[in-house]
């Protein structure tokens, strides 16, 4: 040790040597090495993620511009595990200056700093796909965009400078495009294409379900074309941008807000930068934090800010406004399900808004049952957050937990302990929120907030009750039919046996059968009490309601 110390005097210290290696890691470089964090873990998933990011962006753009979205997705097999992804929308287009940043700079976007319900949030998505394409094929992402009928279209090819997280324009030019406005992107990536769950096909189908105002035209690598037509011309209600609610603000965020604000007093800062804080509440907060209301935010020490956050926790505040959330609405979810799934029964529920950690959210649930759905397997659970299908990590998702925790047996489905119900059923849950909490950046599973799970369970139970009354009615109708055929089947034997024993003639035999039919069919409700003894024995103990249940079988 001592010797080492001596040597260090003459040469560089270890810390010095290490310091030579320590430097900034570029965001893009970081993600290039950790692609799984963004969901690009394998070739199959990479194809899905690329399509998903492109489609999510296109939909957000269209809706923001109040345009009914019409999106075309085309996948071309380029051989050797290479695919070309082409996604085209009829959105508002992108101004030339912004194109490179949007598609070739990570963490660039309009949505991160706003407090508003949207599909994308962090601004990583599409540029991550471009980065992935660049890493696996070396090809640039190609963009064509047009912002109005009398403007020329702008075309460019982009690379990402991974060290500096900066876009590099390889080529750009003006082009003719007969579309009035819209954006088209073309990207080559390394990928594999498969059908089935977690496929692009499934993702687009689910997208069509929860976005019934969207038309998607999809061409698979096998050159099959699917059209998911829109089921409504009603655009979703434009979500309002809101200010954050104090309950959701952590110390670190508060420090940044204090630093950035243009307000000159704490009082003004509290009332202007947050929702649900009026002058009275602001005063109360200041008092509890032992800070004068005229404190300059810029002068606040970390200790003062901590006191403020503490004061917020101990103050009762009105819940955040909920009109900032745009649920799909139960009617449109049902329409979406009906057009894509062949079932016999549909129901859906939109819960009233609720709040987790200061973030308002709305849970919607829907169920499709019977029809062509296969019955001898665990039910399919379709998970959505802000209208985006969640395709991976079902087990880690709060929706899965809510489905498992709900007791489905009273609603006519089989369910074993700790698993989703069995039966010909699809369960859909949608979370709409200004800030949907995911378990990871890949946005695959919703985090387990008790408030969210509770709302989900309430929504599922409401749907379950509707399902239960349908299933039970169906069972009643079925057993009614069974009973009737029962009568048809066995009456002739009673007639025949009596004929044999009593040497009846044919007329008498017929009379027996007719009378019996009369008695048994018209006095059906008498069965209920009479059969108490016989029922158990004959294994036929179902009870009947007085009315004839003709409805229900549609």
């Amino acid at each position: 040790m001592a010797k080492d110390a001596k040597e260090n005097k003459e040469t560089l210290t270890t810390a010095d040597r290490l310091a030579e290696k320590q430097r900034d890691i570029g965001v893009a470089e970081f993600f290039a090495r950790n692609r799984h964090l963004l969901g690009f873990d394998n070739k199959r998933k990479a194809l899905l993620m690329t399509v998903k990011e492109a489609v999510d962006n296109a939909l957000d753009a269209c809706e923001e511009a109040v345009i009914l979205p019409e999106i075309s997705v085309e996948l071309i097999d380029m051989q050797n595990d290479r695919f070309r992804v082409i996604v085209e929308d009829n959105g508002p287009g992108i101004v030339k200056k912004q194109v490179p940043n949007i598609f070739a700079k990570l963490l660039y976007g309009s949505k991160f700093h706003t407090f508003k319900q949207a599909r994308g949030q962090q601004g990583i998505g599409i540029s991550a796909a471009a980065l992935y394409g660049q890493l696996t094929t070396g090809r640039p992402i190609k963009i064509l965009t047009k912002i109005g009928p009398d403007k020329p279209a702008y075309y460019c090819e982009l690379h990402i400078d991974t060290k500096n997280n900066k876009p590099e324009i390889i080529r750009e030019e003006e082009k003719e495009w007969k579309k009035e406005h819209g954006t088209r992107l073309e990207l080559d990536i390394e990928a594999t294409y498969q059908k089935g769950p977690q496929s692009v096909d499934q993702y687009l189908k689910e997208t069509a379900i929860v976005n019934p105002h969207v038309t998607v035209i999809y061409t698979t690598p096998k050159a099959e074309q699917f059209v998911f037509p829109r089921a409504t011309d009603q655009l979703p209600k434009e979500p309002k941008e809101i200010k954050p609610h104090p309950y959701g603000i952590e110390l670190g965020v508060m420090m940044k807000m204090v630093k950035w604000t243009e307000c000159r007093t704490l009082q003004a800062f509290l009332t202007q930068e947050f929702s649900r804080v009026g002058s009275g509440t602001a005063k109360e907060l200041c008092e509890k934090a032992a800070l004068p209301p005229n404190t300059k935010p810029a002068d606040m020490t970390p200790q003062m800010i901590e006191r403020l956050v503490e004061a917020i926790k101990n103050t009762k505040l009105i819940s955040p406004p909920t009109d900032c959330i745009s649920p799909i609405t139960s009617e449109l979810i049902e329409r979406g399900l009906k057009k894509e799934i062949k079932a016999e029964f549909f129901c859906s529920i939109t819960r009233p808004p609720a709040v987790y950690r200061g973030n308002p959210f709305v849970i919607e649930a829907a169920i499709a049952y019977g029809g062509e759905l296969p019955g001898d397997r665990p039910s399919e659970v379709l998970r959505f957050a802000n209208r985006v299908p969640l395709m991976y990590q079902q087990g880690a998702c709060a929706i899965n937990e809510a489905v498992i925790d709900t007791n489905w047996r009273p609603y006519g489905l089989n369910q074993s302990q700790g698993s989703v119900p069995q039966g010909p059923v699809i369960i859909l849950v949608h979370l709409a929120s200004v800030w949907a909490p995911f378990t990871s950046e890949a946005k695959e599973a919703i985090a387990h907030y008790p408030e969210i799970i509770k709302e989900m369970k309430l929504a599922l139970q409401e749907c379950g009750r509707l399902l239960g009354s349908y299933v039970n009615k169906k069972k009643r109708v079925q057993s009614e039919f069974k009973k009737r055929s029962y009568i048809e089947k066995y009456l002739p034997h009673i007639g025949g046996a009596l004929k044999e024993i009593l040497a009846l003639n044919d007329t008498q035999e017929r009379k027996v059968i007719e009378s019996l039919k009369d008695v048994l069919e018209t006095s059906r409700h008498a069965i209920e009490l009479d059969s108490v003894e016989g029922a158990g024995e004959d294994g036929f103990g179902l009870e009947f309601e007085e009315e004839k249940t003709d409805e229900g079988e549609e």
Binding site: K489, Y490, I494, V512, A526, I527, E528, D530, G534, G541
Partner: protein, 378 residues
């Protein structure tokens, strides 16, 4: 709500005659059902419940007597299938009785295959309907023209059975001493048999193995008795055979079973007082005069017999017997015997006597037992 609607037809209980010729009684019952249906009412048939819970032990007659709990089957949508099957079965029975024919239970099951949708899927279903009809009329199945497949039991010893030749109708005498190493087999219907014997007692044996040993060493000659192998729980025919033989010739009956709850509660109890399932006909199919000389807990100690531990199911059987079996309930001796066995937690088979030599049972055990009435159980 059902009962408010009087015009929907009422339930009419059909009386079932309990005497007279079976054929006439079937017609009578069917007529009642027919009339009720034509009036658009619901025919109802009452059958006694055939279970241990619905019998009582009558010490005077010495067997299980049926009590009056009944089940009522009303013709409704729920019961229409069973009702149709019961009527079909009645028609078959009437046909058999009228033409002096017989059908085995298995054959009756196959006949039902002609009934289309009303056919039975498994024989136990047809057996149940048959048993219900028996109980309804309080007759045994032979009187309805039905026969069991089961064998009655093997007989050897000082006995001549007088039977009829099925072809000529002439009397045939069967000498049970002249069966060689084989045996006379009890037929399924024993009502018409006559007996000639000078034997002093009947010994009914649980296992075929023990029976073989006693036959092989002609124990029957030494002890001047009739040996009958029951092969487990005695069939109705076997019970009836022993009963008739014993009644006719005034012979005492001894029963030799394993020292375990099954041998006592299932085999001996059924032979002596009948079963719950056949309670309606126990009167004929029991041997109240039987005495038990099988292995007891005392014998296990006295003869130092090799044992097996009592299984869970054995202990459950004992508890069940003490709690629910009317015969055990009235017999302190049997209760004690059962409790002794449970306390020892052991059981011993008849053949365990072979520990002291293969013929120990002949030279020592049986003579000892026969000589000491105090060692018998009632």
């Amino acid at each position: 709500m059902a009962k408010d609607n009087k015009d929907e037809g009422k339930d009419v209980k059909i009386k079932v005659k309990r005497d007279g010729k079976v054929s006439a009684r079937i017609v009578d019952l069917s007529k009642g059902i027919f009339d009720t249906i034509i009036k658009k009412d619901h025919p109802q048939i009452e059958t006694p419940i055939r279970a241990l819970s619905n019998v009582s032990y009558d010490p005077k007659s010495g067997y299980f007597v049926l009590q009056d709990t009944t089940k009522t089957r009303t013709l409704t949508v729920n019961t229409v299938k069973t009702f149709a099957q019961t009527l079909r079965m009645l028609a078959l029975s009437k046909n058999l009785v009228d033409t002096d024919d017989i059908a085995t239970k298995r054959e009756a099951y196959y006949v039902s295959k002609n009934w289309g949708e009303a056919r039975f899927h498994e024989q136990p279903e047809s057996d149940t309907v048959m048993d219900d009809i028996e109980a309804m009329f309080m007759v045994n199945r032979e009187q309805l023209g039905f026969l069991p497949e089961e064998k009655g039991g093997d007989v050897a010893g000082q006995l001549i059975v007088v039977d009829k030749d099925p072809e000529t109708g002439k009397e045939v005498k069967i000498d049970c001493t002249k069966m060689g190493t084989g045996a006379y087999s009890v037929p399924s219907s024993v009502e018409e048999l006559k007996f000639e014997t000078k034997a002093k007692f009947i010994l009914a044996i649980e296992t075929a193995g023990m029976y073989q040993r006693l036959v092989k060493h002609f124990y029957w000659k030494k002890a001047n008795c009739i040996l009958i192998s029951m092969g487990g729980v005695p069939t109705r025919a076997c019970r009836r055979f022993i009963r008739r033989l014993s009644d006719d010739k005034k012979l005492p009956v001894f029963v030799f079973t394993d020292g375990d709850p099954y041998g006592w509660l299932n085999i001996y109890r059924t032979l002596k007082v009948g079963s719950g399932n056949a309670a309606h006909i126990n009167q004929y199919f029991c041997v109240p005069q039987a005495k038990f000389i099988g292995i007891t807990a005392q014998d296990i100690i006295k003869y130092d017999l090799p044992t097996h531990p009592l299984k869970e199911i054995d202990i459950k059987r004992v508890k069940d017997g003490i709690k629910n079996d009317p015969f055990i309930q009235q017999s302190p001796q049997w209760q004690k015997a059962l409790n002794d066995l449970v306390k020892m937690k052991k059981r011993a088979e008849q053949q365990a006597l072979a520990k002291h030599g293969l013929n120990y049972v002949i030279t020592t055990y049986l003579p000892d037992k026969m000589a000491d009435p105090k060692s018998w159980l009632p």
